[in-house]
Symmetry: D3
Subunit: 236 residues, 6 copies
């Protein structure tokens, strides 16, 4: 099993497109977090273990500004986040209230959290961008989280974007959005991902050279031989 | 504080329409479980404490027929249900897979569960109806729950129909659907509900007698006096 | 121009299916109120002039139980409804709060309102059914209208089910749902509807006799001759 | 491979719930036609080969009443339907226009079509019910199909309810809705379905006798032995 | 009561995030216009009184290019707009037709309209951007408004983004989107907003200095004292 | 009838806003592809004949990586695309799987395809942007097309964005999105478009000069005269 540092180093070079293809071949079709996108164009690919945050819809007797001081608050959750984790917040489809603004994102950044990924939205967009925390979300809404959401707990299994996420699953987020890799499949993805990227880069160079697609992608035997020759040549 | 038996006896005579009006006056607007309706027309009004079931979306590596034997299974949850409770299952909007069919509903009925309330759907509609368990849901779908859902745990806070439900909250379900009464507000509802029903029945009799609405509903001072006189007369 | 009594008498025998076909041939494609259905199976076809009710989403400072006594209330609107009208309530897609319950529906019935048609929902379903007012709607929800809606005014142009409805337009509602006939087109529909129904009934009898569809529906020249012969025979 | 008569006879006794469970175990999760339900409560389970109808959204220059006489019309499609088939119509989510009314359903009934299954709606609900053709659909809308749909062709691969349906696939429809069985998997389902039904009926009798779920459903080794003994006893 | 100039000057420095928090504490949860976002990144925060525009869905007999010359046209509405107002257009969820293009936006800009806010879309995106009118909307669609919408009137109460907006309400729009402040609450927001912003800026500086969240945000007594000391120091 | 080169040259100077207005006047209201937008801001307006691609939802037995080598594959479709065409892919609302990534878009670019227009999404956003193929779509998702879609065929009638598209229809895509011009109406649009653009540019210049809208847009007789004078002056 690779170390977390090896996982991060390797998967930082593998697209979510490649990862979802590998997981599909292993029989996993529901690993893509629907509806979450980079808040800022050009955010780099980020990899980390999921630190989950669970919300349920607001109830006026519970979801009040006062609840922010409760021991089961988002504040306490943030203080519990380890460096390098990716915070994943499941909001059950509520996009009318921003889960976090500049102050909470600023604190996450200070704590060394790698990224925030949510199927909800953030608030105070300008402030969140200024905090420099990389965020994947569905946009922005000004109302505070208690206007639409009640925070329940952290590090529980959650649903996010129509996908189950468990604490400790590996999350990879890039320009397309975010994917979850179940712990048991991380080793496979780390092993297969880089070679798949190399193959696709070579195929892309063939496309640029004018080769037609049939037989090239996916590669037939002749193409595979040429690719092997290319790799040998490169090595020699 | 009324006993559970008193709560059930009293609220069985109070419509969910009246309960939501009382809760609105207390500042609670989000207590109505959206999208859940009686599976069978004419189901009686049912009242009980919420026994919550939490699902997240399916993940192919977890949501398998094999998972049905795991200790965190829906089967174990059902065995833990006390007599008279209302099982409330939150499905995060998944309506492509039935959470329970005839066998599980049959066992709930045997255990004395008062009703099943869910924002999801059941499967094997004919079998569920034959089990005689009263169900409030969004309809039926044949696929097993593992086709779309992963069961996580029981007796946790959940979202159901866009509303937060905590274990032990009072649930009332009738022809309109289902409402949650937070524990701290049950006493108020039990106190105010029956009198509101009496008042509305009297107003309805006035409407049937041809009285116009302004001044009648809501009642002005003159109407209130007439109602008080009616109540005195009835008592005398 | 036919009288209202003639319109009601004639269109009570014409299906909404036939009416929408006639309006389509006149270039009107958007006359069908989406999402509204008979509350009770077997409600008879009803015809009347639209009496419109306009709601906007709730605002907590306005949509309170106290507002029910304001001069711009739903109560005042109901008192203004003429006998035989069809009340059409536009709710802007809000289905979390019932616009009317037993008392208001009971008063409408007393006033001789022909039907209530809405793209929203009613509350206290059992009570509404007991009031005997025919209702077309999207279902039921217990919360009072002020939980989700603010009443604005009556007899203004509204949107209902994705369609513009103006005060005085003719509404026809039957088992399929409800259609609006703009005033300027009523005469055409009254003229063409009954004959279209006769033709389709005859075609249906031909289908029952085993005739294939091509040439029969829509009728070619030969079929039209046979139909004319049938009509002459019937008359002679 | 079983004959079509054997398929129909066998699967008429197997619920769609059981069929989707068997297909899930074979790796097929997307075989359930979302959003289609029996038009009339109590329709019997029906089984047949899919005869597909493909619609695309309406275009005013094409989708006219005149198009009903074109050779690529729904009328010609109906005449091409073999006895015993199940017509499956894909409508791309359009529910504002009814695909068929009484006349076309009446002709399908005459032709011996077993059922109509669609993710769209029908028109002239009363007439369709009177035609006695069993229908699975999403409800009713009065406007003619050309108001929202353009018919393209028959016996092509279609999407219906979020599922791919190919001409000749087996369709089973019952109280829960409709499922597609790809041709290559029919034999498996026919073989495994009846035994699964027998097992579940026996488990249900155990539930009725008060047995708890763990170990019973799914059955552990002890339960399997008891079931085998039950079957032997029955046979002897 | 502050003057309009004071309102604009003050609230231009208060985020919509802060405003919605203040309104929530006053009991208003439904003041956020869902689904409307700045058309152009970096648009400055804008404040003004709502000038409302009401649309209903299109009806082919009314919504024609000819209607553009009617006295109840969008053109007449624009000529009636006072300098500094924010035009708020409610479209009942129609996003298939652009409410305004370059010419109408250009005229609004000429008239000194501060901004256009809508839950609908604009057309001729390039032209609208060239007009330099700041716009908050849901995107762009080329078809003219009459393809999907009928204009009804101006300066009536409307629904926009699921919120009630009355003529003269204060609108604030910034990077997160747009919020409505009911007239009766403007004074409170003007009074509380700037201080809340100062407090949050100081808290953010504390976060940047590495302080943990519990006790800081929301501030406990010790934090409040430190903040008061900071303010005194700043003043002295 | 204009040549394709003339169509492209002329319509490259006509906005989709103007085209949809012209088509509306001809009675075509449903020609706008909903939900598709330029992938990259600033993409130039593009014009070409539709080369259609038809997808249906995924079925696990068919939609596999192996299917990419089948003769009915997207690869074969791309090789069949003529230079200058606009590929239009209908995805039946599936946005959880990207239809194409960098390699397929790169090959389309090589083949001289003018643009890709889809109501679905692409995958490997960075790679697609690097391919330089202009794309109109609903965003990005990493999973491969087979995770959600089964490719059926090319050059068949399709639905895309709620609109019927036939092979050979003219597609125009610009900053607002994409419109389809049925073949029979191309000549009209080519004839009327440029003059409409000239008129609107002149009206815009009048707006910039401070003219009020009534009488100007749409132009009354006096405005039309001034415009004619302007045109004469320009020509002389």
């Amino acid at each position: 099993m690779p170390t977390d540092a090896e996982i991060v180093a390797t998967l930082s070079e593998v697209t979510t497109a490649t990862i979802t293809t590998i997981l599909l071949k292993k029989g996993l079709r529901n690993v893509w977090l629907r509806g979450t996108a980079p808040l800022k164009p050009g955010q780099p690919r980020l990899v980390g273990r999921a630190f989950t945050l669970r919300f349920v819809p607001a109830r006026e007797d519970l979801a009040t500004p006062e609840s922010w001081s409760s021991p089961k608050s988002t504040r306490a959750a943030i203080e519990a986040m380890p460096e390098g984790c990716i915070a994943v917040a499941g909001t059950m489809g509520v996009t009318d209230a921003g889960i976090f603004g500049d102050i909470l994102c600023g604190r996450m950044k200070k704590k060394g959290v790698a990224a925030l990924v949510t199927d909800g939205v953030v608030r105070d967009l300008a402030g969140v961008l200024a905090s420099a925390l990389p965020v994947w979300c569905r946009g922005a809404a000004a109302p505070p989280s208690v206007a639409g959401l009640t925070f329940v707990n952290w590090q529980e299994p959650i649903g996010c974007g129509g996908v189950a996420v468990f604490p400790g699953d590996i999350i990879v987020a890039d320009g397309d959005g975010a994917v979850v890799i179940p712990t048991a499949l991380v080793e496979d993805v780390v092993k297969l991902g880089p070679e798949q990227e190399r193959l696709e880069a070579w195929i892309m160079s063939e496309v640029e050279a004018g080769k037609p697609l049939p037989g090239l992608y996916p590669p037939n035997e002749e193409t595979k031989s040429r690719y092997e020759a290319f790799k040998s040549g490169k090595r020699s």
